[in-house]
């Protein structure tokens, strides 16, 4: 039982980070039909922005702020203006391929201009363990979970509780009707790109202390976010939350389950893909997603 709790909390902490990335992923899809295959690299990059700022002498809080603002400019504004806007008119496929290119560019750019080595990242929250009911947790796990959930709650409040947020929801649900009511749909789409950049930056800053910052990190993070979005339901923010937590928890339970089944722990990496296949076969709309009807 103690083991179970321990794995569960560790899984939720990782999963909450995946959820941040997955939420951004679904927001971009909902508002602009952008399937961002660079999402993993979006989560990789901000930690390096923070490292650069710290190398230049900035204290961590300032570096974190610079990472978030830098992400908004590079991954929000520039991505939208330079890649999405010119390509979206040609349909989703050219854009999807371009996002793959953006991912490669970010990955190799960091490798080339910063380092190919994994970079240690300041441990903002203490890794000191504490024991509760026989299970061992670290303060860092709890703090990561807390920060991620707080950001998700703040986002939910913004989307549901503010008029701008509701205009964004309206633009995502039915852009034509939104335009008919006078909503500036393009501006609302731009806001979702900014939000995605912020979420990616927060995820980046939360995951870097435990996993280090590495140029190739995006591969695994992007896959996790993608699977989380599909597992939860591509068209729902709460789907991405559920999906992120499920993927994170499954990932943490995998070694135990695999050894119990007498399988090599090398299969752990295949687990998200296994989940993906299961969901697509048996519940294609995702765990909490809506079925979508396509008008022809």
């Amino acid at each position: 039982m103690a083991d179970f709790l321990q794995l569960l909390v560790a899984g939720l902490a990782t999963g909450a980070i995946y959820a941040l990335a997955a939420i951004g992923f679904t927001l971009l899809w909902q508002t602009s039909q952008t399937i961002n295959f660079a999402q993993g690299e979006f989560v990789m990059l901000p930690a390096f922005l923070a490292l650069i700022a710290m190398n230049l002498g900035a204290p961590f809080p300032l570096a974190a702020l610079i990472a978030i603002l830098g992400a908004m400019v590079i991954l929000g504004l520039t991505f939208k203006l330079a890649i999405v806007d010119p390509l979206i008119k040609s349909g989703p496929l050219p854009l999807v391929i371009s996002t793959i290119g953006v991912g490669l560019l970010l990955k190799d750019g960091v490798k080339e201009f910063y380092s190919a080595e994994a970079q240690p990242f300041p441990k903002v929250f203490p890794e000191t363990p504490f024991s509760l009911g026989g299970a061992n947790f670290t303060y860092a796990q709890i703090a990561v979970l807390g920060v991620a959930l707080a950001v998700i709650m703040a986002l939910n409040w913004f989307l549901a509780g503010t008029r701008t947020g509701r205009q964004m929801q309206a633009s995502a649900q039915n852009p034509t009707v939104a335009r008919i009511l006078g909503i500036n749909v393009n501006r609302m789409i731009f806001y979702t790109f900014l939000i995605n950049a912020i979420l990616a930056a927060v995820a980046s800053l939360l995951i870097a202390p435990s996993q280090f910052a590495k140029f190739s990190q995006g591969e695994q993070l992007g896959l996790a976010a993608f699977v989380a979005a599909i597992v939860g339901g591509f068209n729902q923010v709460r789907g991405a939350i559920v999906g992120g937590l499920v993927v994170g928890v499954a990932d943490n339970f995998a070694p135990t389950l695999l050894s119990a089944a007498g399988l090599s722990s090398a299969y752990r990496q295949a687990l998200p893909l296994f989940l993906l296949v299961l969901i697509i076969l048996f519940r294609p709309q995702g765990l909490v997603g809506r079925k979508e009807e396509r008008a022809i």
Partner: protein, 246 residues
């Protein structure tokens, strides 16, 4: 008064991509009256509304609202000019509450401080919406949703309202209610431009009628005259019409 036109279309040409639907549409819509646009499927009725409201580019021709050129205005400019549009089908945001749906109708309002008061007034006018104010709009019946759309469209107190097929999918009782609302609006000075599948019923309620066929206006007359015109029956039975004599 007879020549008081709020909206005019002059040889409007437009469509989707390269496809031309409006083929030189000309119309003059009278102020503070209900005008129903009828015509067979594919005649360009909905396309005409979209072109008027700026949802579709007009390739040539000219449109005026109260004498001012509004050709290729954006929807936002049309709203600011006093026109609102209730399109065909379901146009509510199902996951938002009734009140929040209504509130989105006020996005274009210049003075946002007056919005809550306007919403409350609209809720009073449609008590069923007040009753369901906190419910998700998707839980409303089809008729209530249409009511919500109309109420939302009225929030800006438009001079002209374009309504495309409001009765589709509604019970006969609800259709009567919606038509009753349109009449009351007309009586309060709002101009209504309506598309209705149920042409006969709509013309009975209307002051004027406009028969559209193949993107061109065939007849523009008093509703009662159109109702009595034997050619209308012929049109809806599939026969063509010669262009109306100018």
């Amino acid at each position: 008064m007879a020549d008081d036109f709020i909206l005019t279309l002059q040889d409007v040409v437009g469509g989707y991509g390269r496809m031309t639907i409006l083929n030189g549409t000309t119309a003059r819509i009278r102020r503070a009256a209900i005008t129903t646009v009828i015509g067979p499927n594919g005649a360009g009725k909905s396309t005409m509304f979209k072109a008027i409201f700026g949802l579709l580019p007009v390739r040539s021709g000219r449109m005026t609202l109260e004498g001012r050129d509004t050709t290729n205005f954006t929807p936002r400019q049309m709203l600011d000019a006093g026109v609102s549009f209730v399109p065909q089908g379901r146009n509510i945001f199902a996951e938002l509450t009734v009140r929040h749906n209504m509130e989105l109708g006020g996005v274009a309002l210049a003075d946002q401080s007056g919005l809550p008061r306007r919403i409350d007034a609209m809720m009073q006018r449609f008590p069923i919406l007040a009753e369901k104010a906190g419910a998700q709009a998707g839980t409303l019946s089809g008729g209530q949703q249409k009511l919500l759309e109309v109420a939302r469209g009225l929030l800006l107190e438009p001079k002209l309202m374009l309504i495309d097929e409001p009765s589709i999918g509604l019970s006969p009782l609800m259709v009567q209610e919606v038509f009753g609302i349109l009449k009351a609006l007309r009586d309060s000075g709002v101009t209504i431009l309506l598309i209705e599948q149920n042409a006969k019923q709509a013309l009975q309620l209307s002051d004027y009628g406009l028969v559209l066929e193949q993107g061109q206006t065939r007849i523009e007359d008093k509703a009662s005259t159109i109702l009595a015109d034997p050619r209308i029956a012929q049109l809806f039975l599939g026969g063509g019409l010669a262009p109306a004599a100018q």
